[in-house]
C-alpha cells in the first residue's frame, strides 16, 4: 500500500512537467571564483538547483510572475535577486560573498603553537600527546622540548627558548602566572614540572610575539588551560615501583558541577637500589603531593574553577668536591609548595565576556650545602674557596595575584579585549642567617584587538603597560601581528612585539637599582594545515637590550641577539596508524650578560636541534609504541675567571653532540571493572654519553663534566580507573 501511494504520488508529480520555465546561470564569489555546491531556489517554492563544479546551475519551475531567487552556500551570505518569470528561459549570474567566520578565518599564529580543545585546529599537543611521547614520562615540559624553538638543556629545569635563559619563559594556568612551575632546583639536575598533563585541555607554547595579556617573559609563554567539567565520575589508582597514588573525581548528575582530589607518594629508594646513580643520595628523593579541585557551571554558561595542589619533598645528594677530591659536597633540600588558582569565566551578554583569575602560592625551601670528609662528617678545610661553599639558605616566595580580562565582540568575529592585573610578591630569604626581603606590587594594564578585515586577513594589535614598585619603573610594550591566508589551509603571519621582564630576585637582592630587561621580537612564519598534516616554517630575529650585568657593576648594560629558523612537520596521514612529527631549529645567538666579558654564545644555546617523535597504537593488541629521538649539536662552555678588573675566559669549548632516544609503550586492558593502562618507559635507550657542560675547580685546573644522575631512567607503572558512568547505568536500566 505504501509503495502504491508513493508510486501514485510520483505519477501525479510527473504530470506537472509542462508549462515550466528554465532558469540557469552561474554562481561565483565576490572575487570571481567559481562556487560549486551552492543552492539556488525560487523563494517559497520547492524549485531550485545546485551549482556544479563549473559553477553552473539549471532547473525548471512552474512559478510565474515576480519571484525572488536566492543563492546560498555554507559559509557565504545568502544573495537574493528579484526576477519576473515568464515563458522564456532566464539566465542569472550570482556573486555570493564569504562570511567572516571563526572556522574559515585566518588565525594569528606567528610564534605560537596552539593546541588542545580547539576541536578543528590541527592539534599540536593534547594531554594524550603528552602522555604518549616516548621518554617524556608525562612531563609537559619534556614534550614541549620536542617542538621547535626549545633547547635540550638537561642540567637545569625550564624551557630555554630561542636564545633565552630558562627564567625568560613563564607558565600561565587559566591566565594567571605560576610562580614555581617546577620542583625546586638541584644543582646540575633538571627537575620535573609540578602539574599533571591531565589537568589541561589546551596547551599553547608561544615562542615569541605573544599577546599583550601576558608579560614579564622575555622569550616565551607556556599557556595552559585547565579542563572544565570532566566527562564522568571515576576513581583512580596508580602503582609503580617509584610511586603510589589514588584519586577520586565526582561529577554531579546534571553535569553542572564536579569535585575531585588526589594524592601521590613518590619514593625512589627501591629504584635506586636496583639502578646505580652517579651521585650518592644520602636522602633519597621523596615527594608527597595532594591536589583538589571543584568546578561549577553558572546559569549563563560560564564556569568557576578552583584548583589547589600541595607538595612536600626532600632529597640529599653527596658529590665529590671539585676543588679537593678528599672532600665531598653534601647538598640537602626540603621544599613545600602550595598553589591555588580560582578562575571565573562568564558571558555577560551583549557580546561581553569576562575572565577573572585569582591566584595564591607559597613556596618554602630549606637548602643546605655542607663540606664533608670521606666519613661523611662536616669539616672545615681552612681554604676559603672551599669553606665558603658551605651554606644554609631558607627561602619563602609568596605570590598573590588578581587578573581581570574583558572581551567585547565587535562586528563579525572581531574582538576587543582589555583588562588588568595586580601581583603582590613577597620574598623572604635568609642566607647563612643574613635575612633579605623583597616585596613588589606589580600592576599591569593591557588592551588588544583581534581584527578580521576579511576571512583572509586578520590583525592582532595590542599594548601592555606595567609598573613594578620594587624597581619603581614603568614600561609600555606594543605588540602587533598580522596573518594572511595564502590558499586552502595555507597562511603567512608576521609578528612584532616588545617584551619586558624584571631582573631575577637573585640580582634584586643585591640592589633594586635596576631597570627592566628588554627583548624585541620580529617573526615571520608560514603554515600549511590540513586536518591530519601540519607544516610550519618560521624565521625570527630577537634583539636583547638592558640585560642584567653583575660585573663590573650590577646594572642593565647587557645586550644580545638571537636569530634563527625553525621547521615543523606533523603527519598522521601518510602511514596508516602512525602519527609522527619532526622539528628542527637553527639558532644563532650571542649575549653579554652577568659576568661575560663580551658577547658570547650562552652555554644554554646549541646551533642545531632536531627531534623526531613517532607514535603508533596497534588496536589488535591494545598497545601503543612511542619513540622520541632528539639530537642537538654541542653547546659552548666557559670558565670565567676574575682577572683584576675583568673576567677572562680561562677555558672554553663545546660539549659533545647530544643524542637521546626515548621509548615508551602503553598497554590498555580491563582488570575486573577497572580500565588499566600499563606503561613501560625508558629514556636514553642507547645509553648515549650525554654531557651538558663542565664544572671547574676554583683554580681552573680541574674540570668535570655535568652528566645526568643516571644515563637512563626506566619506569614501569600501572594506572587504574574505575569509571562510575551514570549514563551507562541509565542504558542498562533501559535494556
Amino acid at each position: 500500500m505504501k509503495k502504491l501511494t508513493i508510486l501514485l504520488l510520483i505519477v501525479f508529480a510527473a504530470g506537472w512537467v509542462n508549462a515550466q520555465t528554465k532558469i540557469a546561470g552561474t554562481v561565483k564569489d565576490n572575487r570571481g571564483h567559481i562556487v560549486a555546491g551552492a543552492s539556488i531556489q525560487v523563494k517559497g517554492s520547492y524549485d531550485g538547483g545546485v551549482s556544479d563544479s563549473t559553477g553552473h546551475f539549471s532547473f525548471k519551475t512552474f512559478e510565474k510572475g515576480v519571484q525572488i531567487i536566492t543563492a546560498s552556500n555554507v559559509g557565504y551570505k545568502t544573495v537574493e535577486q528579484n526576477v519576473t518569470i515568464g515563458a522564456d528561459a532566464l539566465e542569472l549570474a550570482f556573486a555570493i560573498k564569504e562570511e567572516i567566520s571563526e572556522l574559515k578565518a585566518v588565525t594569528v599564529t606567528a610564534g605560537s603553537f596552539e593546541a588542545g580543545d580547539k576541536k578543528r585546529a590541527a592539534t599540536v599537543l593534547s594531554s594524550l600527546d603528552v602522555v604518549t611521547t616516548g621518554g617524556a614520562n608525562a612531563d609537559i615540559t619534556a614534550v614541549v622540548k620536542t617542538l621547535p624553538g626549545a633547547q635540550q638543556v638537561g642540567e637545569q629545569e625550564g624551557l630555554f627558548v630561542r636564545g633565552g635563559a630558562g627564567y625568560e619563559t613563564k607558565q600561565f594556568i587559566d591566565g594567571t602566572l605560576v610562580n614555581n612551575p617546577y620542583f625546586s632546583s638541584v644543582p646540575d639536575l633538571a627537575q620535573r614540572g609540578r602539574f599533571s598533563p591531565f589537568l589541561f585541555k589546551g596547551t599553547v607554547f608561544s615562542t615569541g610575539g605573544y599577546s599583550a595579556l601576558y608579560g614579564q617573559a622575555l622569550s616565551s609563554a607556556l599557556i595552559l588551560e585547565s579542563v572544565d567539567i570532566p566527562e564522568r565520575s571515576e576513581a583512580s589508582a596508580s602503582i609503580s615501583p617509584i610511586f603510589l597514588g589514588a584519586g577520586l573525581q565526582e561529577v554531579a548528575k546534571d553535569k553542572k558541577s564536579s569535585w575531585g582530589m588526589q594524592y601521590n607518594y613518590t619514593n625512589v629508594a627501591a629504584y635506586f637500589s636496583l639502578v646505580p646513580q652517579s651521585v650518592d643520595y644520602f636522602k633519597v628523593p621523596e615527594y608527597h603531593a595532594a591536589d583538589a579541585n571543584f568546578r561549577i557551571k553558572t546559569k549563563k554558561g560560564g564556569i568557576i574553577k578552583y584548583y589547589t595542589t600541595f607538595s612536600a619533598n626532600q632529597l640529599g645528594i653527596r658529590r665529590p668536591n671539585i676543588d679537593d677530591p678528599n672532600y665531598k659536597n653534601a647538598f640537602g633540600l626540603k621544599n613545600t609548595n602550595w598553589y591555588n588558582n580560582l578562575s571565573w569565566r562568564e558571558n555577560l551578554g551583549h557580546g561581553w565576556k569576562m575572565n577573572l583569575g585569582l591566584g595564591y602560592s607559597t613556596d618554602h625551601n630549606d637548602i643546605t650545602n655542607q663540606i664533608e670528609n670521606q666519613n661523611n662528617l662536616p669539616v672545615t678545610t681552612g681554604r676559603v674557596w672551599i669553606d665558603s661553599t658551605n651554606f644554609m639558605l631558607t627561602t619563602r616566595a609568596d605570590l598573590s595575584q588578581f587578573k581581570a580580562v574583558f572581551d567585547k565582540r565587535l562586528s563579525g568575529i572581531s574582538v576587543i579585549r582589555f583588562g588588568g592585573e595586580y601581583l603582590y610578591s613577597y620574598n623572604k630569604n635568609a642566607y647563612n642567617n643574613y635575612p633579605s626581603k623583597l616585596v613588589d606590587h606589580f600592576k599591569a594594564l593591557f588592551s588588544e584587538a583581534d581584527l578580521y578585515i576579511t576571512n583572509d586577513l586578520a590583525a592582532k594589535i595590542g599594548a601592555r603597560f606595567e609598573q613594578s614598585s620594587l624597581i619603581n619603573k614603568a614600561n609600555i610594550a606594543p605588540r602587533l601581528s598580522l596573518a594572511y591566508k595564502t590558499g586552502v589551509g595555507g597562511q603567512m603571519s608576521i609578528a612584532f612585539g616588545t617584551f619586558y621582564q624584571k631582573p631575577e630576585n637573585t640580582y634584586l637582592t643585591a640592589t633594586t637599582n635596576f631597570g627592566y630587561t628588554k627583548a624585541t621580537h620580529y617573526i615571520i612564519n608560514y603554515i600549511k594545515n590540513t586536518t591530519l598534516q601540519t607544516f610550519r616554517v618560521e624565521a625570527f630575529y630577537k634583539k636583547y637590550e638592558d640585560l642584567v650585568k653583575t660585573y663590573p657593576a650590577y646594572n642593565n648594560s647587557g645586550s644580545g641577539y638571537a636569530k634563527g629558523i625553525e621547521l615543523y612537520w606533523r603527519d598522521k596521514k601518510s602511514i596508516q596508524g602512525l602519527d609522527y612529527w619532526i622539528s628542527y631549529s637553527y639558532l644563532d645567538t650571542k649575549r653579554d650578560y652577568l659576568n661575560y666579558p663580551n658577547q658570547l654564545q650562552p652555554n644554554f644555546a646549541a646551533d642545531h636541534t632536531a627531534s623526531l617523535v613517532m607514535k603508533r597504537f596497534i588496536p589488535k593488541i591494545n598497545t601503543g609504541f612511542n619513540f622520541t629521538y632528539t639530537y642537538a649539536t654541542g653547546r659552548p662552555y666557559y670558565n670565567l675567571i676574575k682577572n683584576g678588573s675583568k673576567y677572562d675566559i680561562a677555558d672554553q669549548g663545546k660539549t659533545i653532540n647530544y643524542n637521546s632516544l626515548g621509548f615508551s609503550m602503553n598497554y590498555l586492558a580491563s582488570l575486573g571493572k577497572a580500565y588499566a593502562v600499563f606503561v613501560a618507559s625508558v629514556t636514553n635507550v642507547f645509553n648515549s654519553n650525554q654531557i651538558f657542560g663542565y664544572n671547574y675547580s676554583h683554580d681552573g685546573l680541574r674540570k668535570e663534566s655535568i652528566t645526568p644522575a643516571a644515563p637512563r631512567f626506566i619506569f614501569l607503572g600501572c594506572f587504574l580507573s574505575w569509571g562510575v558512568d551514570r549514563r551507562q547505568d541509565a542504558i542498562n536500566n533501559n535494556l
Binding site: G44, D579, I731
Partner: protein, 209 residues
C-alpha cells in the same frame, strides 16, 4: 454499504492528502534519494529536501532528510571533507530541531555527524567528538526508548571502540539484539518518517556472533 462508504470516503480523503504538494515533494525526494548513484545526485536530493523545508516552514522531515542525504555524501566519496559535510548537516539538523525539539531521530543524526567528525582523527578526537556522539545517542534513547536506530547506532560505535574503553563485540551485540527486537515491531508514524537501519543492524549483529 456502510463499509463501502467508509472505504470510498477514506479513499478520497487519502487522495486529497496524498495529492498535497508537500507529500508529492517528499515522495519525489525519497525516490531521488533511493536512486542516487553519485555524490552529485545525493547532493541534489539534499538540496531538494532543503528547499522543501525552507518553503514549508513548519515541517521537520524535509530538513531531516536534507541532513541525512547530505551526511550520506561523506560515505560516497573517499576524499570528502567530513568536517565540512558534518557542519552542513548540523546546520540542517538545527533547523529541524527548532521545529521538532527533543526528537529521537534528530538526536540519532547528531550522533552520526559527531561520529563522522570523530573518524577524521579518532585518536585525538575521541575525547571531543566521541563524547559528543555518545551524549547524542543517550539523548536519542531517552527521547524515545522505542526507537531501534538509537541502539543500532550506539552498538555500531561500541563495536569499533576498543574493549579497554568499554567497547567490543560482546557489548555491541546486546545493543544490536535490542535494536533487532524493536525493528520487528517498529512502525513509522507516516510513510515519510525515518524507517531505516534494519538490514544494517542484522548484518552487524551477525558480525558479532
Amino acid at each position: 454499504m456502510k463499509h463501502l462508504l467508509v472505504i470510498i470516503s477514506m479513499f478520497f480523503a487519502g487522495m486529497a492528502m496524498s495529492q498535497s504538494k508537500y507529500e508529492a515533494a517528499m515522495a519525489r525526494g525519497l525516490e531521488q534519494f533511493k536512486s542516487a548513484k553519485t555524490v552529485e545526485d545525493m547532493t541534489a536530493a539534499s538540496a531538494f529536501f532543503e528547499r522543501v523545508g525552507d518553503a514549508e516552514k513548519d515541517k521537520w522531515l524535509p530538513y531531516y532528510y536534507a541532513a541525512y542525504t547530505n551526511y550520506v555524501t561523506a560515505w560516497m566519496n573517499q576524499k570528502a571533507d567530513k568536517d565540512k559535510v558534518a557542519v552542513k548537516s548540523n546546520d540542517l539538523i538545527t533547523k529541524a530541531e527548532a521545529l521538532e525539539p527533543n526528537n529521537s531521530e534528530l538526536f540519532c543524526l547528531r550522533q552520526m555527524t559527531a561520529t563522522l567528525q570523530m573518524l577524521v582523527d579518532p585518536m585525538s578526537r575521541f575525547q571531543s567528538y566521541g563524547v559528543e556522539a555518545s551524549n547524542a545517542v543517550e539523548k536519542a534513547i531517552k527521547a524515545d526508548p522505542g526507537n531501534p536506530r538509537s541502539y543500532y547506532l550506539k552498538g555500531q560505535n561500541l563495536m569499533n571502540t576498543p574493549e579497554a574503553y568499554g567497547g567490543g563485540k560482546a557489548v555491541a551485540k546486546k545493543l544490536f539484539e535490542k535494536a533487532a527486537e524493536l525493528y520487528k515491531t517498529f512502525q513509522p508514524a507516516s510513510p515519510f518518517h525515518p524507517n531505516w537501519g534494519k538490514e544494517e543492524n542484522e548484518k552487524l549483529l551477525a558480525a558479532c556472533q
